[in-house]
């Protein structure tokens, strides 16, 4: 009978997810009842998210495990839940604005698809059981396959969803196989028991490397880090822009939460944090894998992005590169690294959503996201152009923007005397210099180059709401760039994993 009482206790701290599920169902019903396309469904969805945000706030100081060791509530998960709610609310608003979505279907299914992906993300952030991880990953992936193919009448969108599906299926298959081997060796699905087992028994090198690589494949696909990134450019370009934004921000953030929790808890020697650093099992050098992946992502992301013609594809590569930067935080395997990663994630959220929103506005007006078409656009939509310039500069990490602060903390984490990853910091800085090229390319074509007919074309006006949204995205990018106290404090307090003191 104790199971029953235990389930009851778990449920009442499972409220955020429950509220997401109820809003999902409500939206589903509302969508069916309301004949034509209307914003009411989105409003319900946003209301539901705010309610779950309230519940998450209630959990902010709690550290406990639920459903007999399936899920866990800790500041780390809370931070990510905040991130998911904030980004999905903004994405819901994006969906309202994008014309691509308006023409695609006459109903607005996207609202509860987004909610399901948020649910998946919530679970990814807090699951500590291999099965639970796989299940939440699958839920998130399935929803994103559907979303990728949302404007089904368009060739590009369907092609992107197909590619995403096949690639996703393959990598989750590989991950599952890796998990089966791990399960076979350690005999349990719960990562804490796995870490105790691995700490006590000697692990053969070949086995642990293969398992780690296979699991990394599954997670790498989610955070679109090299060499598991091949789907990213095509899917980002093909699927509708709000979906791309959603993938770039929320789903990759979920991927990061999973990869961090998995690597930082399973391969842990002891649960004490020794002067800030997680004590890693001597034998297992998983940091090297992450370093290789991170450096590869930075280099591929930045170098190939220079070549891109389409803005969405460029942002795709940029998110690969940014993923590479964030992994750098994980490599250091100590609280500073973790905090730096969390700071960068929040910075990444604002910058990217901003950049994508401008892309949506441009795609609405020009119909294409080809950078060549954008010559001299800066003059026709000055405010939006300037906003884009700010987001681009933030992404490249120029001081006085939130991007710089993210990078600054990452570099300080890497250059910390103990860590000794000086060369890594330099690679990171060099890459961000290279990234300056393609970020500035967009600004250059918008402002400094002049299409032959720029002067005759009339100035483009957007609706007032779009200006408000733009300002709401601009303010954090610059304000937190100058006064980054709150972000750093939040990240610091949430760099605490369950079970590790």
């Amino acid at each position: 009978m104790n199971n029953f009482t235990e389930i009851l206790k778990s449920i009442n701290s499972f409220l955020p997810e429950l509220s997401v599920i109820t809003t999902l169902l409500l939206c589903l019903i509302a969508d069916i009842i309301i004949r034509k396309k209307s914003p009411i469904v989105t409003i319900i969805a946003i209301a539901g998210l705010l309610v779950s945000a309230y519940f998450v706030y209630m959990q902010s100081a709690v550290q406990e495990s639920l459903f007999s060791g399936m899920l866990v509530i800790d500041p780390f998960a809370v931070f990510f839940k905040y991130l998911f709610i904030l980004s999905s609310i903004i994405i819901l608003i994006f969906f309202e604005f994008s014309n691509e979505i308006k023409e695609s279907t006459h109903k607005n299914e996207y609202s509860y698809l987004i909610l399901s992906l948020v649910l998946g993300a919530f679970l990814m952030a807090s699951s500590v059981n291999l099965l639970m991880m796989y299940l939440s990953l699958e839920l998130a992936s399935l929803t994103s396959y559907i979303l990728a193919g949302y404007s089904k009448s368009e060739k590009k969108s369907s092609e992107s969803s197909m590619k995403y599906l096949i690639y996703g299926a393959a990598s989750s298959g590989i991950m599952l196989y890796g998990m089966s081997l791990l399960y076979g060796f350690t005999g349990s699905l719960d990562i804490y028991e796995i870490s105790r087992y691995l700490a006590t028994n000697p692990t053969p090198n070949a086995f642990i490397y293969l398992t780690m690589i296979m699991i990394a494949a599954g997670l790498g696909y989610k955070t679109s880090s090299v060499p598991f990134h091949f789907w990213t450019p095509d899917v980002y370009e093909g699927s509708p822009t709000p979906v791309t934004a959603f993938l770039a921000v929320t789903s990759s953030a979920a991927g990061f939460s999973l990869i961090t929790r998995l690597f930082l808890t399973t391969f842990l020697g002891s649960t004490q944090i020794v002067d800030g650093a997680f004590s890693i099992i001597a034998g297992i050098h998983w940091q090297e894998i992450i370093i290789v992946i991170s450096v590869a992502s930075m280099i591929v992301g930045n170098f190939v992005a220079i070549w891109q013609k389409s803005l969405k594809r460029l942002l795709g590569y940029s998110s690969i590169a940014q993923g590479g930067y964030m992994l750098a935080g994980l490599v250091v395997a100590d609280t500073i690294g973790l905090t730096a990663m969390l700071i960068y994630l929040s910075a990444y959220l604002f910058m990217n959503l901003g950049a994508f929103f401008v892309t949506i506005l441009i795609v609405n007006k020009l119909g294409t996201d080809d950078i060549e078409q954008m010559k001299g656009l800066g003059y026709r939509l000055p405010f939006v152009g300037v906003a884009m310039a700010v987001f681009m500069l933030a992404l490249s990490g120029i001081p006085a923007t939130v991007g710089f602060i993210g990078k600054f903390y990452l570099v300080t984490a890497l250059m910390k005397p103990g860590a000794g990853y000086l060369w890594f910091a330099i690679v990171l800085m060099l890459n961000s210099v290279v990234s300056l090229f393609f970020y500035l390319k967009v600004v250059k074509s918008m402002f400094l180059e002049r299409a032959d007919n720029t002067d005759e074309l009339p100035g483009i006006k957007f609706s007032v709401q779009s200006y408000i949204i733009l300002i709401l995205l601009l303010i954090p990018t610059i304000f937190f760039g100058l006064y980054f106290g709150p972000i750093v404090k939040l990240a610091e307090s949430s760099a605490v994993l369950f079970g590790i003191r």
Binding site: G276, T335, I336, T412, P417, F447, Y483, E492
Partner: protein, 525 residues
């Protein structure tokens, strides 16, 4: 520490953030209201001038606050970023929003306010999307003003970077034909420099330990006293290689801005391509940031390195003077000629500083101010012809003296001021620099060599006067009308200042002499 507040906010914060307020108002105005935009921008500049006069009124020139906290005036200190990593080695990052003015920076603040106003009036000739232009212009003023008054290295660096972008766009969008090339060249040069500054800043931060709070600090004043660097840190031991390297790094960062010989090629391009008002600002104030940085940061923090590098710096200064003058002689474009003359004049400033004598340093800062006013007038004058004749080639003109007598008079005053004619302000500063340079035995020969500069300067200026003003008037310039009232408003105040300071320089010298004596005694201790 004299506190001075207007409506509760420190007067220096007003000076720095008033332009931002202006920018916001300008941005709010619709694009079509060009007239309103122009006058609002100029209005803000006038406001800035009033505040600077108000500050001048209760500026206490007896105080000398280079490295002593009490000596500083209009001080504002608020913790800006106070973040600590509990378990990490970095410990607390404590950065303050620390503004202050003393003998070194206050003259420069006045110069910025003055040149800012002049530039705003001169920008009325910009016809292409004024809104963007004035927004960028006001933003640039904030960057410059902030750099002059910041006393925290991080804040200094942030303002130093902020200044970069408006300049890039101002040259890049409103410039001449090769504006793109010039803008990028300017941007990359300064960025290259600021990389060195960043490295040294971080090194300073990590190796400093504030005696009171035991924390790492960016605060320039605490960095100045040697106890802040514990013996085992990079900069612990006086005169060790790290300190020399750091000084060299900072020097490169600042030398690009001055510009000093090997890094100077961006200046002519930037000037030729920038619109008139922007080259006024560029020459009037931006070049001074490099030299100001030297005396505010590298000299007081690394006095031993300053003494060590005295001779190489003097050599570079001499090269700057001679090389700048020689290049100026061979130029065909009016603006490029003035650009090279600025290189030569900034060489004087560097020479004054390298002498590390009170009279030399006083001369250097006075020359910084004079060069600001004189070159500003010269660029305004070039702007006058360019607006009318749309060509800057020296060989296209001739005989303008009769056609435009008032213009001829103002330009002659500016030209003769630039070659250091007594009775005008530049003579006093130039002679100070030579006297200072001569008094310092080590760089005596270098001073004599660079004194030949006064002959070369005279040569190319007179050659230009002859080419442009004397001789017959080519027929195509018959339509030129004399200097307009607006142009006079922007240039006459500067001319009055040049003459006034020439006759009675103590107006300026009293402001800075105590601080300079303090600085020199601190360095040579």
């Amino acid at each position: 520490m004299a506190e001075l507040k207007i409506l509760g906010i420190g007067v220096l914060s007003w000076m720095v953030f008033l332009p931002v307020l202006g920018m916001i108002i300008v941005l709010a105005l619709p694009k079509s209201q060009t007239k309103a935009i122009k006058y609002i921008a100029a209005g803000f500049m006038v406001l800035l001038m009033f505040i600077s006069v108000y500050m001048l009124a209760n500026y206490d020139s007896s105080k000398a606050g280079v490295n002593s906290l009490e000596g500083l005036q209009f001080v504002e200190k608020v913790t800006w970023i106070d973040v600590d990593f509990p378990a990490a080695m970095i410990g607390k990052i404590h950065i303050e929003y620390f503004l202050g003015a003393d003998g070194l920076s206050f003259p420069m603040v006045l110069l910025t306010a003055l040149i800012g106003f002049v530039g705003a009036v001169a920008s009325f000739s910009i016809k292409k999307n004024e809104k963007g232009y004035y927004a960028m212009y006001l933003f640039l003023i904030t960057g410059m003003m902030g750099t002059f008054v910041a006393l925290d290295f991080f804040l200094f660096f942030v303002f130093w970077e902020i200044m970069l972008f408006p300049m890039y766009f101002l040259i890049g969008i409103w410039g001449g034909e090769r504006r793109l090339y010039a803008a990028i060249k300017f941007f990359l040069y300064t960025l290259f420099g600021s990389v060195f500054m960043l490295i040294v800043m971080i090194a300073l931060f990590f190796s400093s330990k504030d005696p009171q709070t035991g924390l790492h600090t960016f605060n320039l004043i605490t960095l100045m006293n040697p106890q802040t660097f514990p013996p085992e840190s990079f900069f612990g031991v006086l005169g060790n290689t790290w300190r020399l390297l750091a000084f060299a790094g900072l020097f490169i960062g600042f030398a690009i801005k001055v510009p000093v010989f090997p890094f100077h090629t961006w200046l002519p391009d930037a000037h030729v391509e920038a619109p008139t008002a922007i080259s006024v600002i560029l020459a009037g104030v931006l070049l001074k940031l490099g030299t100001y940085g030297l005396i505010r940061i590298s000299f007081p923090i690394f006095p031993d390195a300053a003494r060590y590098f005295m001779y190489p710096m003097a050599i570079l200064a001499a090269i700057n003077i001679i090389y700048g003058a020689l290049c100026a002689m061979a130029q065909k474009d009016f603006k490029k000629l003035i650009a090279y003359s600025s290189i030569s004049h900034m060489g004087y400033v560097l020479l004054g500083m390298a002498s590390l004598t009170t009279i030399g340093m006083n001369g250097a800062i006075f020359q910084m101010f004079n060069h600001g006013t004189i070159t500003a007038v010269m660029f305004l004058m070039v702007g006058v012809i360019y607006d009318r004749a749309h060509t800057r080639g020296l060989y296209d003109f001739g005989g303008l003296a009769n056609k435009m007598p008032k213009y001829f008079a103002v330009t002659m005053i500016a030209f003769f001021a630039s070659i250091g004619l007594p009775g005008l302000s530049a003579f006093i500063s130039e002679s100070f620099i030579f006297l200072g340079g001569f008094n310092n035995e080590i760089i005596r020969i270098v001073t004599i060599v660079s004194a030949t500069g006064i002959i070369l300067n005279a040569a190319y200026i007179l050659w230009t006067v002859q080419r442009v003003f004397l001789g017959e008037l080519p027929t195509k310039w018959d339509g030129l009308n004399d200097i307009s009232v607006r142009e006079l408003i922007s240039s006459v105040p500067l001319i009055v200042i040049i003459i006034a300071l020439g006759i009675y320089p103590s107006l300026f010298i009293n402001l800075m002499s105590n601080s300079v004596t303090q600085l020199i005694s601190f360095i040579m201790k």
